[in-house]
Every structure is written in C-alpha cells, then in structure tokens.
C-alpha cells in the first residue's frame, strides 16, 4: 500500500465544476488523506508542524490544484514557503522527505494542444511545473509526471463524470501499488500511463 497525501488547493471550490466532482468521487481508502488547504488555512496561517507531520506519515504527495498563471494557487506556494523548512526538508540536516514521491494533479481550461511548443502556451505543463519539480528534488523526493485533466472549459456533464471516475480509479491504483513506476516515469503524464485506471 502507498500512503497518499492529497494536498488540495482551490480558493473557490464552490465555483469549480471539475474539482468539486473530483473530490466527491474520491475513493475511501485507508491510506488516502485529503488535506484541503484553503479550508484549513483561509487566512494563510499554515500550521507548519501539523503539515510536516502529515508529510512525514505519507509516501506519495499529490498536489491537486487548478493551473493558475501556469503555477499553483497562492496558498500552495505559501505552504511550500513555510512547511519545507531548511533543516527539516532540505539542507545538510534536512532529511525528513527523503525517498518520498511527489507529483501534481493539474486541471487546465486549455486542451493538450495549447500546452505544446507550437501552442498558445509554448511550454508543456511538465515544463511549466519545473519549480515544483526542482523543489521536490532538493528535498530528496522523486518528482513524477503530473496527472492532467485538460480542456475543462469544453467538458459537458458526462465528460466531467467520466473524468472524476477515472481519477478515482487512478488514485485507487496508486494506493494499491498497481501502477508500474517505470511506465509512470517514462510517460508524458500519469493519466496516460497504461493500466492506471484499469485496476477495478
């Protein structure tokens, strides 16, 4: 079993069509913990000790968030600034996160074609997430390709339901160690890994 910490950041969940469904469809798993950051710290007063304890007790950290200006919402950045302390997460004595894995779960309005060299956004999502990737590296974690849900502006009700269901199956597969790590490392994104949604 892989213990998954789902760090979720969305400042206006009530207005989100996608994330609300993703959360509603979350599977109940013994090793899956949801930490809803904007619900826990509406005033950006992140409880550093509590967050460090959560990180320490999980193996895989998934940062689930909408793609705001090619990055995370502000609170997730605040979380990084405060929680990943020198001497704890990195530095010569900072070994608390060593050996853990990290990946982003990103939703974007634009479709896959927009996030290509030739597309509107000129970079892939993975490239734009380079700061997170390097943060994970510096903390001794393995950073893995993101799980992408793209083109959300054009999704209809049944698309949304299908996306939520696929995500739930992917989380279950990760939790149950049904995902081939090498395939994940090699893939452009986790949602494209073969078998990620086939466990049930």
């Amino acid at each position: 079993m892989t213990r998954i910490l789902l760090l979720f950041a969305h400042p206006a969940l009530e207005k989100s069509r996608v994330h609300r469904r993703l959360l509603e469809a979350l599977p109940r798993l013994p090793g899956l913990t949801l930490q809803d950051l904007y619900e826990a710290y509406p005033d950006f007063d992140v409880d550093v000790r509590r967050e460090q304890a959560l990180l320490a007790s999980h193996d895989l950290v998934l940062l689930q968030h909408p793609f705001y200006w090619y990055s995370t919402p502000a609170l997730l950045k605040q979380w990084q600034d405060l929680v990943l302390e020198h001497g704890w997460a990195y530095g010569s004595n900072g070994t608390a996160l060593r050996g853990k894995r990290m990946a982003n779960v990103v939703t974007s309005g634009g479709g896959p074609a927009a996030y290509t060299r030739e597309g509107l956004n000129r970079f892939t999502v993975r490239e734009l997430l380079a700061p997170v990737e390097q943060t994970a590296r510096l903390c001794g974690m393995e950073y893995l390709p993101p799980y992408l849900i793209q083109g959300t502006h054009r999704m209809n009700e049944s698309d949304l339901a299908a996306a939520a269901e696929r995500y739930a199956r992917a989380l279950t597969a990760l939790h149950d160690d049904q995902v081939d790590l090498d395939a994940w490392r090699a893939a452009a994104s986790l949602d494209r890994v073969e078998g990620v949604e086939a466990s049930r």
């Binding site: 007063d45 550093v48 405060l82 990943l84 302390e85 020198h86």
Partner: protein, 626 residues
C-alpha cells in the same frame, strides 16, 4: 434578644433561604417566591420557628429596599432618568391617582367611611419596589419597554409616599392630636414652619447632589489608596446609611435619597466598586425582607375568613391590573410590554405596612380594617412571582407569536438553520454577515424595541429570555443546526449553553465569551467554538502598535496570527489545569491566570519567527561550505 438567640434566629433564616431558594430557582419560580416560601415555612403557621419578632425583622430588612434603590441609581445615568421623566410623572402619577380613586370607590361601595376609603385607596395603589425590581432584574427584563415603565411607576410611588404621609393625619376626623406626637418625634423639621421645612428638604437634596459630585470622588480615592477592601465597603455602607438618616431627618423617603445619590455617582469611576460592595448586603437584606413578608402572612385570619381575604386579594389585583394595562396602552406600549407592566405591578407594596401602621396610629383606620388588609398585602406580594410566571409562559408566547405571524407574512417557510440569541451590536454583526450571504436566521432577543424594529424589517424574531428551553423550542432549536450565543452577560450565556446542551444536543454552539474566565467556563461546559469579545480587536491594535514601532506590516500580521493560535491553545490547556486545581483557586485566579499566560508566552520559542522565510540557518549551512 440575647446573643445566642440572635445566632439561632440568623441560623433559621439563613438555613431556610439556603434550602428553599435553590429549589424555587430550579423549579423556575425565581428567588423572590423562594424567599417568600421560606418565610411561610419557618413562620408561625409553618414550623413556628419565628414568631412576632418577624415584624421587627421586616422593619430592619426594609433597609434592603433602600440599598436596592442605591444600586439601581448607580446603574442609571442622569440622562436616562431625564428621558424617563414623562413616564415617571405621567404614567406614575396617573397610576397612583386612578388606582387610589378606583379602590377608594370600591371601598365606599362596600360600606367603608369615605375618609378611611381614601386612606385604603392610597395605600393599596402602591406596588412593591423590592419584589418587582428584583424579579425583573433576575429575568433580565428591566431594560425592556415594560420594565422601564414599571421602574418609572415605582419611582413615582416612592416619591408619592411623602405627600401620603402628610395627607393621612388630615383624614383622621378629630383624632389628629393623638397621633401628632408620635409622628413629630421622627423628624427634626416638624416643629418648623412650612417654608423652613421646604428649605431643609431642598438643602438635604443639595447636600446629596453637591456632596456626591464634589466630595464623593476625592473621598473614595483617598479610601481606595489605603488598599483596605473592607474600608471601602465600610465607606459605601456609611454613605448609604448616612443619606438614609439625613433623608429621614427632613422627612423624605430614605430610598429616594439613596437613589438620588446613586444617580449622582453613576458617572464616577468607583461606580462598579460601590455596586459590588453594596450588592451582597442588598441581596441579603432583601431576602430577609421577603422571608419576613412570608412569615407575617396571618394564615389564621385567612383560614377564618378565606372567602373575604382571597376575594379582596383578587379584587385588588384585578383593579390594579386593569388600570396598569389601560394606562400602559394609553402611553404607547405594545401589547406585550403593557402586559408585562400589568403583570409586574398589581401587588401592594411594602410601604403599605408602614402606611397602615401609621394610619392606625393616627386613628384613620381601625385594627378591624388593617389586620385583614395586611394579610391581603402580603398575599398579593406572594402571588406576584406567580403572575409573572404566567405572563412569561402563557401570555407572552401568544402575544409574541401572533405579532410575528401578522408582521412577517413573507417569512420563508421552513426553519432557519441558525439561531442567534441576543441581537446587540455583537449578535447584530453576526446576523448581518449571515444575511448578506443569504443565510436565514432566527433571532431571540428580550429588548422589545429592537424586536419591533427587526420584525418590521422582516426578520423572524422571538421575544423573551433565550435561556428558556420552551422559547428555544418554539424558535426552532429542534431543527436548527447552529446556535450563536451573543448575549450580554456571562451568566446568561452559560445558562443558555447548559440548556441547549441538555435539550438540543445536536446544535453546534458558537458562543461569545467576555474574558479568559468565561472562556474557561464555556470550554468546560463543552463549547468548542468560543469567541472572546475583545481578543481579535486587541490583537489588531497590537498589530498596529508593532507597525507604528517600525515592524513590517506582514511580520506584525503573522505575529498576531501566531499569537492568536498560541492563545487559543493556552486557553484549552489552562482549562484543564484549572479543573485540576479546583474551584477555590479558580475564584482567586484572575491574577494567577494572567501569570500562567505570561509564562506560557515565554515558553513558546518561535512566536515571532517564520523559519521558512528565515535565511539564518541557510547561511549557517551553506555559507561554511563555500
């Protein structure tokens, strides 16, 4: 009375009070009825533990009324008194005149001689300041429209006693000289001509006002500097007794004089100290007074002619009730407030005992009239708490409910998810925020003016004491999800929390606390969401103070955030400690609590630092490798 018998007496009275009053309160009857019952139990017709000396005790205990008016005066600012002048003179004056006339008329119709009838009418028109104010205060109704009107009427009655004492001798056809001697011994001014008497009265009032304004403050400051608590208490007692004495010397009511002194001192900085010092004496003496009233009820007489006595009680109460209700409506009170006034004041007051004995002395009334009437007075006092209970449980809910249904027809059907108890500035802010976000709320409040306003704005408002479980039930506590407690007093808040926890355990309670101590109490009572009144404001001020000193804005903001969290944790931690330490240290404990807080602040190492934004350890780590 020997020393030992005094101790026995004190023991009997105190024991009766300590046993009966908690039971009465538990049954929802209020303390006044409890004291009265205690009096009946120990009186000559109960266990017979006290006999005729009950009368002496009553005279002694009447001083409690004097003290009560002093305390009430302290709470009344002169401006409020000035605002009440219309109800005091108009409502109060008419109440005394109309009631006296009506009762005198009935007495004449029953065959009483007209002069005696007038004396009876005047005496019975008075109501009981002691019972009414004590009960209204206990129920938190004193500040409502009906409560203020009751107070105005009682104040006028206290003033009216003076001319009544002057008129009574005139009603004694031919017997006057016999009584005059007894009367003149009581005051200094009786031998003087009228103008000199008036001058003496005015001088006494001037002494109180001038002394209160110019001498009171330096005097109390000097005494406070000695840091002897009991000396301050002694000075407060001296003040009250001195004024009472001065007033009796010039023939004015002592209660009136101390009331005046209270009003004069209401704006001084020693107001709260005076209040807390006098309060226990006042409470004890009033309790004693009620016990004495209970013990003085002549059940032998009642049993002998039950029909007549009870008929008289009913008659007096009905006449006074009708007059009060009519006048209340005529003076623009709402139905519920007029009902409160009429249910509060239909009894006959303690001054009746004085006036009856004076009238007997002057030969205006014979013992065949006064002794049954004294029983009537005592019985009418005894039914007052019961009448107020009927008003509260039966009458007010109807009036309140009907007004709500006629005035707010557009109320959305279905129960509101949030109950807000108390709609003062605190509760109103909460309610406005919720309403601005489309959350339906039901408000419980006992200020009738506010209730009117809110209802006219379309809010669902229940009028009454929010700590009553039947009112909570009527307001939909069974279906609501949240209970916001925003009452003005810690005692009421705690009482409401207990009621809600007991009868509506599903409710999530969010309670306003006033300071650390209440915060502890609420946490202990099982409230998870406790909001100390001044905490956030104080932290904002502290933040701004840091900024003024040159700290960066965000650093100051973060410091306040961390401090808030630390403070909340300490509150919960110390609550546990306080429970272990026990009740006594909790009473002593405000200073100790402060000490513990300061210690906890020191023990918390990084109240001012955000490690994530601090490069110090980074420099230490990477600087050396370069």
């Amino acid at each position: 009375m020997s020393g030992q018998s005094f101790l026995v007496q004190a023991f009997v009275y105190l024991l009766a009070a300590v046993v009966t009053v908690p039971v009465a309160k538990r049954l929802g009857l209020g303390s006044v009825l409890g004291y009265l019952l205690a009096g009946v139990v120990i009186g000559p017709f109960g266990l017979g533990l006290v006999g005729t000396e009950g009368q002496d005790v009553m005279h002694f205990a009447e001083f409690g009324v004097v003290m009560m008016l002093f305390v009430i005066g302290l709470e009344l600012e002169p401006s409020l008194l000035w605002r009440l002048r219309a109800p005091i003179l108009g409502l109060g004056g008419l109440q005394v005149l109309v009631t006296s006339g009506a009762i005198a008329g009935v007495a004449v119709a029953l065959g009483v001689e007209w002069r005696a009838a007038v004396a009876i009418g005047m005496t019975l028109s008075l109501s009981s300041t002691a019972i009414v104010l004590q009960t209204l205060q206990e129920k938190g109704l004193l500040k409502t429209g009906g409560g203020q009107s009751s107070f105005a009427v009682l104040l006028f009655q206290d003033i009216a006693v003076i001319p009544m004492l002057a008129i009574l001798p005139l009603l004694a056809a031919g017997h006057a000289p016999a009584g005059e001697a007894g009367h003149s011994a009581t005051t200094l001014v009786d031998g003087l001509p009228a103008w000199a008497r008036t001058l003496a009265v005015l001088a006494a009032v001037a002494v109180i006002i001038g002394g209160g304004r110019y001498l009171g403050r330096p005097l109390f400051r000097t005494i406070a500097k000695t840091h002897l608590r009991e000396l301050f208490t002694a000075a407060a007692l001296l003040l009250v007794i001195g004024i009472a004495l001065l007033m009796s010397l010039v023939g004015l009511s002592p209660a009136l004089g101390t009331f005046l002194a209270g009003v004069v001192l209401a704006n001084s900085e020693y107001r709260h100290e005076l209040e807390t010092d006098i309060e226990p004496f006042k409470g004890l003496l009033l309790g004693l007074f009620f016990i004495a009233v209970g013990a003085s009820i002549n059940f032998g007489l009642v049993a002998g002619r039950p029909g007549m006595i009870l008929g008289l009680v009913a008659g007096v109460v009905v006449v006074k009730f009708a007059v009060l209700l009519g006048l209340g409506r005529a003076f623009g009170l709402n139905r519920d407030q007029a009902a409160l006034l009429a249910f509060a004041l239909p009894q006959v007051g303690e001054f009746a005992f004085v006036l009856f004995s004076f009238a007997a002395q002057e030969g205006v009334l014979g013992a065949e009239i006064t002794s049954p009437l004294v029983a009537v007075v005592a019985l009418s006092m005894a039914v007052t708490p019961l009448l107020l209970l009927i008003n509260e449980r039966v009458v007010q809910p109807r009036l309140g409910a009907r007004a709500a249904s006629t005035r707010a027809p557009d109320a959305v059907s279905g129960e509101a998810p949030v109950l807000i108890a108390g709609f003062g500035s605190f509760g109103a802010t909460v309610g406005r925020l919720l309403r601005a976000n489309g959350v339906r709320t039901t408000v419980l409040d006992h200020d009738s003016d506010r209730v009117d306003l809110l209802r006219s704005m379309g809010l669902t408002v229940y009028y009454g004491d929010a700590t009553r479980h039947d009112l909570l039930h009527a307001a939909g506590a069974g279906q609501a999800r949240l209970l916001v407690v925003a009452l003005d007093s810690p005692e009421k808040t705690l009482a409401l929390v207990h009621t809600a926890k007991k009868h509506f355990p599903h409710l999530v309670i969010l309670a306003r606390a006033f300071d650390w101590s209440d915060g502890h109490d609420l946490v202990e009572a099982g409230v998870e969401h406790v909001y100390r009144d001044t905490l956030d404001t104080a932290l904002r001020l502290g933040t701004d103070a840091m900024r003024q000193l040159g700290f960066r804005a965000y650093h100051s903001h973060r410091a306040a955030q961390k401090f808030l969290r630390h403070d909340e944790e300490s509150l919960r931690e110390l609550t546990g400690k306080r429970r272990e330490a026990g009740y006594l240290s909790a009473v002593r404990g405000r200073i100790e609590e402060l000490e513990q807080m300061l210690r906890a602040d020191r023990a918390e190492p990084d109240l001012s630092r955000d490690e994530g934004w601090d490069a110090e350890s980074l420099r230490a780590d990477f600087g050396k490798s370069r």
